[in-house]
Structure formats: C-alpha cells, structure tokens
C-alpha cells in the first residue's frame, strides 16, 4: 500500500471529518504494521489516529476500557485484578511490532492470523465506535463479518471494553506458532464460568486455522452443565471438527490443523479452569 499524504488531526471529530471527506482515498493509520500486507496500487491519504487521546487502559466499573490506539506492548505490561490480556499480547509478533501495533489496528481489519479477535470473542468484549457520538456493540456482532462495514463515513473504533472477570470465571488462551515471531497456526481462547465445579457458561473461540475468527458453538454446548474435568474438555474439543472449516497451512494438512486445534482447545479449557479455581490469577 502506498501513502500519498499524511494528515494529523488533533481531535476525534476532525479525524472523522477528514476520513469522511476522503472516502476510499483515506485510511486511518495507527502503527502502520498492516500496510505491508495490503495490496492496492492507488496511493491513499493516511489519517493519523495516534494523537486523539485513544491510548489508555482504565478500569471503569465492570470493564477494563482500552483505547483503540493503545500499543500491544502497553497491554502486555498492564496489570489489573483478574487481568488476562497480557498473556496473548506478549506472544504476538516481536517487541518492535508490539511497540507500534495497536489493539484497534489489530481488529479494525481482521487478517486471518489475527489473535485478538479470538480473545475478544471469548471474553465477550464490547467495541466502542464513534460516529459523531459513541455507540457500543458486542464482539459477536462486531466480528460477524469484516468490520470495514462499520467504518463507512469516517466512523472510527475508539475503545475496546473487556469485562472484569468475576470470581469463578476463568480465561485461557493458546497461540501455536512455529517460532517466536511467526503467525499463529492456531489461536484458541476460552472463558469458563464455574459453579461448584460445574460449568455454568462457556465461550470458546478460534482463529488462524480457519478463514475468519469465530466462536465454536458446538464446543461450548458440549461444556455447559458438565463438570470442569479433562474428560469433559476432551469430549468438547472433539466437537471442534464440526464447528468450523479448518484449513491447512505452512505445508501442513487441514486434518493436522484440526487435530492441533482440538489439542489447543483442550489446553485452553484446562488453563481457563485453572484460572477459575484461582491458581493462575
């Protein structure tokens, strides 16, 4: 992708106005790490969104609110009560990339290998979009298709709201890569709510090994109402085959990737259960 101009608006309203005026010739730009992967020969005008006060992490009521322009390295370093986002963030790419790549950039355009959509789906996050005023939507709605549809007319993603996990809630994620800086072969995230050792609610999502990140509803269904034990997790993970279209990659077959995803689901569930029991806080 080639850039012809670079605009630095001072406020959210100015940024929206500029993007609205530019239409398809404009593009919001934060860390810029996605440029490398974007084809397109027509140069575009970049609208810098890193100076709009959107880089922050705050706990507000039942949510952690993360500004859309917050770099992944800040999320990796942040610590809060029952905070789980640092684990996945420290596994994404390299230090150099994480210092510039933002949470908003990671999810405003969903690449097949993106990890954060998987985590946000499992965590039941809420997304805040500015269209002159702010509106919220669920991760399920936001990630139901490429989010580009939500940003027409210069609208911008401004924040990600992550529910503060309650007691008996547990979160676990698994990112499988060939080496430290590589894209994921499979990313899995799971949120479990336990009551007296029984799974009251479950959200399980996957990405990278499938064309677009999604929740694995058959896996979730196989968990609810059952005991949080390995045998149950295994049985639930086995439902993954039917839950999504697994695709091969990096020279490995779709069948292998499915097996890898099943093991990853099991691992994520074990981690989530351990978290819920209070050990991994």
């Amino acid at each position: 992708m080639k850039l012809s101009e670079f605009i630095r608006p001072a406020t959210l309203a100015e940024a929206r106005k500029a993007l609205r005026a530019l239409g398809p010739k404009g593009m919001p730009l934060a860390g810029g790490t996605a440029l490398h992967f974007m084809q397109g020969k027509t140069p575009v005008t970049a609208v810098d969104v890193t100076r709009l006060g959107l880089s922050y992490i705050r706990q507000k009521g039942n949510y952690f609110v993360i500004g859309a322009a917050t770099p992944l390295s800040d999320i990796q370093r942040y610590r809060g009560p029952r905070w789980a986002m640092h684990e996945i963030c420290r596994r994404i790419s390299t230090h150099q990339i994480r210092n510039v790549s933002t949470i908003g950039g990671n999810i405003a355009r969903v690449f097949p290998w993106a990890d954060l959509p998987v985590v946000l789906l499992a965590m039941d996050a809420r997304l805040v979009i500015y269209s002159g005023k702010e509106k919220e939507m669920t991760a399920d709605e936001y990630f139901s298709a490429q989010p580009a549809r939500l940003f027409r007319g210069g609208d911008l993603l401004t924040a990600v709201k992550i529910p503060v996990l309650k007691a008996h809630h547990g979160f676990g994620s698994v990112k499988v890569t060939r080496n430290a800086a590589a894209f994921s072969l499979a990313t899995v995230a799971a949120l479990l709510e336990l009551k007296d050792g029984v799974i009251k609610a479950a959200r399980v999502a996957a990405g990278s090994a499938i064309p677009f990140p999604q929740r694995l509803k058959p896996v979730e269904a196989a968990l609810v109402g059952k005991e949080a034990v390995t045998a149950v997790f295994k049985e639930a993970a086995a439902a993954a085959g039917a839950a999504a279209k697994w695709v091969g990659g990096e020279g490995m077959s779709a069948d292998y990737i499915r097996q890898l995803a099943e093991v990853s689901i099991l691992d994520a569930l074990e981690r989530a259960a351990e978290f819920a029991r209070g050990r991994a806080e």
């Binding site: 499988v176 060939r178 080496n179 894209f183 990096e250 490995m252 292998y256």
Partner: protein, 780 residues
Amino acid sequence: MKRHEKARNFKQVNTSVTKIDALQLALGKDSYVADFVPNDALIIKMLWSPHAHARIKKLDVSKAEKMPGVKAVLWYGNVPRIAHCTAGQGFPEPSPYDTFMFDKKVRFVGDRVAAVAAETEEQALAALEVIKVEYELLKPVFTLDEAMAPGAPVIHDEAEAHVPIPIPYEPKKNLVAHVACEAGSFEAGLKQADFKFDHTYETPYAQHCPIEPYTSLAQIAPSGRIHITTSTQVPFHCRRIVAKTLDVPVQKIRVVKPRIGGGFGCKQEILLDDVTAMFALRTGRACLWQFNREETFRTGRTRHPFRIRLQAGVKKDGTITAINMEAINNTGAYGGHGLTVVSCAGSKVLPLYHCENIKFDGKSYYTNLPVAGAYRGFGATQAFFAMESLMDQMAEAIGMDPMKFRQINHIREGEGSPIFAALGEGREGTPMTVGSNALAECIVQGAEAIKWQDRKDWRGKTGRYRRGMGMACLMQGSSIPDIDMGAASIKINDDGSFNLLVGATDLGTGSDTVLAQIAAEELETATDKMIVYSSDTDLTPFDVGAYASSTTYLSGEAVRKAAADAKRQILHTGAEMLGLPVEQVRCEDSAVISADDKHRVTYGDIAKYSLYQKNQYQIIGTASHITKKSPPPFAAHFAEIEVDTWTGFIKVLNYVSTIDCGTAVNPQLAEGQTEGGTLNGISYALTEEYLFDRDGKMQNASFADYHIYSMRDRPPLNIILVPSYEDTGPFGAKSVSEVSINGAAPVFANALYNATGARVREFPLTPERVLKAIKAAEKK
C-alpha cells in the same frame, strides 16, 4: 606441556580481543555496499520468469525503453551470449558452464528474463510491466525421479553447455556430475557383518538468509574502468567471472568488498555483478541492484536437497564392516557446486569412523527448481543426517550405548582414511592423516554437560510430553588442499603500526580481527597496531575468498608467513641500528632488543629509520600459502528434547555443542561462530522449509512465512571449545565456521527416537511429520 597447551603462551592469539570493526558497525557508520550508493545512481530491477521451464518465443522491450526515467534495458537480444558458471570456485571450475547473462530459455521460477535500469525504483518497476514476453511452456522437472527418468525433458539443451575440465557431465540426461570411489570391498565387508542396514534419507531445501541481501553497485571510474562494490565472499572470482561474462579484460575491472552482512555460502556466486557492470558500461552511470527478501529466496542460492541411500554392516563387537553411500543432489536449474557438494557428502563424512570397506557414489541432477549452491556445511550437513541417524540404529542393533559405539569407532590422531585420497573437489583428493583431534574429549565433555549418564530408553513411557536425548559426532575440513590459495602483504608505517592487506574476505565472521591477531602474534606487537584492509582486487593480494572453512587456516597462514617476512626485515634494520649482528637481537613487545636486554629500538624508531634516515627501504612482507592438508575440525553435539506427542511439536530443552577447532585464535569469535552455526542447524532441522506450488513456485518467500530462528527462539545452548593444536595451521588453528551446522538434524532425529520410538528419515521435523511418525511407531 601437552601439545594443546602451547596456545597458552600466546599473547595476541588465544585472546578475545574486540572485533576491529565492532565500533564502526555498532555506530552505524557507512560500512555496507548500500551505504556507498551515490544519490544519482540508477536502480536496477529484473523481470523474473514466472514459469519453471519455458522457451521465450518473443520478447519486446521497445515500450519499456521509452518509459520515463528508463536509461537502459538488457535482454538476450542485446548482450553477449557467453556460457559461464556463476559459482566462485577454483579455476577452471569443477562445474558446468551452463549460464548466460540472459537466455532464450528460462529454467526456474525466478530465472532472468530482462532487466531495466531507471532513475527510480518505481520507474524501473513500471517499465518491467510493459515488457512483452511470449513463452512456449515446456514440461518441467521437479523431482529427482523426474530428472533421472528416461526421456525426461532436457533442461540444458543448449549446445554451449559444457564442463571446462574433464569430468562427467551429461546434460541430455540432466546429469550434472557423477563421482564414485571404493576402498576395500563393500560387498565383502557386508558379508562379515552380523547386522545389515539399508535406509534412504531425504534432506530439504534451505536459504542462507543473510541479514544483508545480495547487493551490487557498479560505477565507471574516470579512467573508464568498471568499479564494482559488492556484497561478495569472492571478490577475485567476481572479477574473473564478470570479465568473462561481459567479454572485457580482467584489467578493466576493480572489485571492492566492503563490510558484509553475512554470506554463509550464498555470496560465493556472481548473481548480480555482470548485470550491474553491463548497465554501468551502457549508461556511464552508477547502477545499483539489490535483491529484496523475496528475490533472495527465489533467485538467490539455496542448499542442495539430497536423497541419500546408506547401507552398512556391523559386527556384534561394534566393528563397522562396510558402508555404502549413494548420494544424489538436486542442484536446481544451474549446476554450480553440484559436483563439489556431492563429493563433500562423502569426503567430509565417511572418514569419521573406522571402516575398511567403503563405497561412495555421488550424483547431481538438474531440476526446474531454485538453484542450489554453496551453503555452510556443503554436503556434509545432508550426509551427516543419514550417517549419524544410522549410527544410532547400528548401536541399537548390537545393544551398545550410541555414545560408546561412536567412541570405539571414531578416527583418531595420526590415522588416515582412504576417502581423503579418493574424493577431492573435481579431482582426486589428497592423502592425509589427522594431525589434531580432540573429538574424544569433545564427547566426554559434551556427555557430562548434557548428563548423558541419565539417559534411558524412554520409549515405553505413555505420557503426553516425552523427553529424549540424542547425539551426533561431526567433522568438516579446513580449506581445499592443493587448490585454494591465500596471500597477504604487510608493511610498516612511521609509528610502528602496520597495514595488513589481505584478499581474504570478512563476511561479518571476524576474520579481519583474527588475521590481525595472527599478524600481531608473529610480529610480537599488539593487535591494535594492525590496520586491516580486505578486500580490493586493485590493492590487496589474491585470495580465493571466504569459503570451504579456509580463512583462518589458509589465509591465516599466509598472513603469518607475510608477518614473518616483515619481522625478518625489522630484525635486520633493528640490528643495524643497534650495531649488533642480527643473531644477537630479538623482537619483543613492539621493539628489537639486544640479547642482553640492555639495548632496544622500538618498531616506530625502526620504521622512521628505514623510511627516512639511512639505507632507506620499505619494510614490507608478503607471502602466499597453499595447504597440503584439510585438517578436520571435530564436534560432538548433544540435545535433550521434549516432544508433545499429541501435536508433534518438539521443544529443545538443552543443547550442547562442543568443538575442536585447534587453537581458537579469538575464543569469543569462535564461540560466536559455533553458536551461530548450531542455531542455524537447529532452525534448518525444525522450522525452515521451501514450500512449492504445483508450478514450482516457492510459496513462502518472506520471513513471515519462512521460519528462521531469531534469538527469541534460542534454546539453552552450551558451547564448549575443546582445545587441540594443529601443527600445520597458524598457531595451531584450524577451521570453526561450518562444522556446527551439521549436528542438529541427526541429534533431534535420534532424540525423537529415544523419546518415542519414531524414526524419521526426512526433515524439517515439522509437527505434522513428527506426529505422523509417532503414530506409525505406536502402531508397531
């Protein structure tokens, strides 16, 4: 004093001085080719073949020539057609002359079609888009079986393809090279065996991945000569090959090698300089060509994939009675290094273990895939995977610990091997005995570091994560005897400093520092008195270049001899100044001192005297060196791994890499080479892979998709330098740079077997391949 302890008395050698270019590089000073590009240089871009095998029926560059900013276009219609070899080897090369600057035929995806030089990169790229090419597609050859099949498509059907020396070459059969030898009788040896083995192994493609891609800058000097600044391992071969390809006299060309950002063998080829030089001649302008990463993967050189059939017999007492290695490599579309790499699969591997009946047959075939060339390890890496995997199997068959089996069989000091004499590089080898060998001690120290005594047969375990331990013994060579030559000159300056001029080529290895240490040791002065310049075909003496693990051993001895020559002159003038016979003075601490220690003149005094005062002359030493031996460095590698038997992922828990490189001239740099080579090998064994589509196009030509290790992937790595003393090398040194890459693949294969009973005979050990092997082993 034990022989290997000799090195303790050295003052400059066996010391970890700081690399002499460290500060310059750390501060980001102009150092590399791209740092020297004038602002008005033309930018070169190449139109690469999208087809693996095709004839160009029509090529129209007329539109491109008229595009804005375009200064010249090169294609087969406007350049000389001269068959040559791009590999920078000895001369004449033991490789076919099968390459043309541009040709009417393309032989792999990434072959040259036409090139543009324009004012900007954008203009050059735009011009490439309007070049019209009509191809006649030919049936491609992608596997060794397809290449060898009767009636296979002929990749080099041009009349000019030939070999410059009498060696087997049959392009009509796609056969690039064939070499065979037998010592004793394999058949007779096999009959004596209690256990017989016959297995076939496959090794994969890989790229060297230097941080600095291929880069070449050509300019026309005011004198009209062509001045090439290039990222090369072989400046003198570059000059010779460019002269041939352009049909201009060698005299007209100057090649300068500045600092280099890594080579590992891939820059032992002339892949850019003929084009940059031709554009400079055509335009009179400075012309820059730099490969991007994708081009480095697709068009740059790679490691030869091998298929190796290994047969062997062993007696119950551990005697290896017979070995037969049949090695076939895929050299890709062009044949440089095809013969030498397959020869080294035998010559650098088979001498390691005692055996009286050894047979070797090596072949190299063309395919329509990326071109293979020199790569650290050079055939030995591939063959050691087979050999060291089979060593473990033989040990198991006779119920012996695999370490003990190696200990009773490995070659020792004073011993020879018929293979040394039988297999050379393009001709017979040189008979030799091993002069220095600390392999026994390498094994002992490595075993202790990995805790080999705790190793058990863990195949019966059933848990998800299983541990295993494996090992391998390795060797390489140091220079190519009777073929390679290095030379150096050294002259004194007013203040007692010295200019050391070498044709040897520091690629980032630290060889300039090592050579300075050797010169300083011989001259009894300090390393920081050396101003090293390498390499420049106008100014420095000849050297074949940085390859075949030769710089420290070969060029280092040339430097030592040149320094000894200068020292002789210093002693002569010092004695004259002191009014003493030369027998009564010695050199010490940058001065000439009388035997009774009462009188001294410093090197600075001697320089000023000899340059300005009396009987003036330039104190200058010069020397050349060829070697009669290629003393092997030895290594023993050990690893403990953890295998996830549900996913097939391998985690390296601990890796011990021992090495006997003779005297480590600079121990820290030797450790760096060993650690780098070992990691390079680990990455090759586990994660690096060329993935092709059905049309022979590499699919993962970027660092996002081709998984080479970064420092974050580095497992716990224990490097142990085990000293020995090689009498034929400078201050006891032999080579260090290649041998360490040979270990990881067989070590992991053996450890995987120890952990799970799964025996893999091909790599990389991708999780899917490992999982499949584990499941197959479980079924048994």
